[in-house]
Symmetry: C2
Subunit: 300 residues, 2 copies
């Protein structure tokens, strides 16, 4: 399952009950928290996402609307008695900020907070089933996007055939990952006799805050779901550029050039009370566009 819950979709100033950026990606049964604006721990509680299920947090850059909720979440996890490791990926100065705030509070976390400083464009996490990379985008200060790729999708079991060859259910998980089955009498049941090819590996890219820059295209190329900021509507292209942000049309153009299947837009300026024009304008260029709405879980 590729799922994404929006905890905040607004840009710098909270407004109209919209919170600053934070979202939770679900992939291969893992929860990844991407950015962590002020109030994220309350939003997690509101939308019933268990903090204890989050083991990886990704911070794109050090503008407050993307990380001011982090220290509160980290310390609350400690107060709740967390013991499992927490991996935090973010710009290098983030560590000093956290260390200073823990020190003045005389707080020692009861769990390991493992900090991974972002450098350039690189793979920052590689597990059996998931690979996460970061890539630089073009903002007023150092800023990274993140790309999450399922390494390989599991093959699909054909239940008629597994029954025919009398393969025990306990072996199904290994079948999904391509193994052949050997019967007690030594007969080899070829994997392809009982499974079908995997569907396309799932993928998600979060492009953070960025000015329009086509260099982004190759970094998110062929991604299934692309989240791209649209701080402004298309008539404010100049203001967007001045502030290192994007418009609806620009985000949709990136999605089109990158051959994404789905575009999700967010990081709306607090000057806009309603959001329907964002959707309309982006769809003119890239029809398969959705608005990132707070509290909604998108299942792709």
């Amino acid at each position: 399952m590729l799922g994404l819950t929006i905890l905040g979709n607004n840009s710098a100033l909270p407004a109209f009950d919209r919170h600053p950026t934070a979202q939770v990606l679900t992939l291969e049964d893992q929860l990844f928290l991407i950015d962590c604006g002020e109030g994220t721990q309350m939003q997690l509680a509101k939308y019933k996402i268990r903090r204890s299920r989050i083991n990886h947090i990704f911070i794109s850059h050090l503008h407050g609307d993307h990380y001011f909720g982090l220290i509160g979440l980290i310390t609350s996890m400690g107060l709740l008695g967390r013991t499992q490791d927490l991996h935090l990926f973010g710009p290098e100065p983030l560590q000093a900020i956290i260390d200073l705030q823990l020190k003045v509070a005389d707080t020692a976390l009861p769990y390991q907070l493992i900090f991974h400083a972002l450098r350039g464009d690189e793979v920052i996490m590689q597990e059996e089933k998931i690979k996460v990379s970061c890539f630089k985008v073009s903002h007023r200060i150092d800023c990274w996007g993140f790309r999450f790729d399922q390494v390989k999708a599991p093959r699909r079991i054909n239940p008629d055939n597994t029954r025919k060859y009398e393969i025990p259910a306990a072996f199904y998980e290994r079948l999904k990952w391509g193994e052949d089955y050997t019967t007690k009498t030594g007969e080899v049941i070829k994997n392809e006799w009982v499974t079908e090819a995997a569907p396309r590996a799932r993928s998600y890219a979060y492009s953070a805050d960025t000015i329009y820059n086509e260099a982004l295209v190759e970094k998110v190329y062929n991604v299934e779901v692309l989240y791209h900021e649209t701080t402004y509507l298309k008539d404010l292209e100049d203001r967007a550029a001045l502030r290192f942000h994007c418009t609806t049309t620009q985000a949709a153009t990136i999605a089109l050039k990158a051959n994404a299947s789905q575009l999700l837009i967010g990081h709306f300026s607090s000057k806009y009370e309603t959001l329907d024009l964002f959707e309309k304008e982006a769809r003119e260029v890239f029809p398969n566009t959705l608005l990132a709405i707070e509290g909604v879980t998108y299942r792709f």
Copy 2:
């Protein structure tokens, strides 16, 4: 008017939709923000308190539930184009935390943020009509309470007599502060002929987070309204002491010994879903007790 709006009344962990500590005191038409837990800027918006009216912020100590919302508020004030000075009173390391967070964001505030480090027990603000003092309380880390005193309450005008002596309305403000009036013909109208004695000067004390310590009594002596933390009910006195907090009975005892007129209790532990027992227990010792309820403005 002595008014107090509760923006958050919970201790360390946000729970049951209760936010961490923050409150706005209104005295002599000034708004003072006392502590600033995560989400305070959203709470200010929710309860329609204009950020621009706040010129003084007081931070008691550097546990996150009392200040994690400060940096977001400060930067939002900047984004909103604030130009008037903002005075911030807090423990000395707070300045380094703010400076570091502004620096990594490459943010220059468009207004003067004037930081006043708290030292011991001292007067930290002295204006014509208001005096603010801080006093050390006994917590796990350095922690201060704040006391706000109206320097002198204005005398009450007797409208029958001002009419009788034909004193122009433009002079009323000076009458309130004790001046005599001299007529065009040189006749002196004594102030006491046309005004009545001032009521008791208003005062408010916020005792922050503290273990039970009777040294507090003289610091808040004779205060009109005392806010005192009650993290726990009375049966958890040992736990309260272990964590440098107080129970209902302890807070009420301080109010009684300090000869306060009114006690307001808050900073409830997230282990309690309902709060009625807090009120009941405190009133057994100090009947004039109110619960600090989020979103309520108390007018004393």
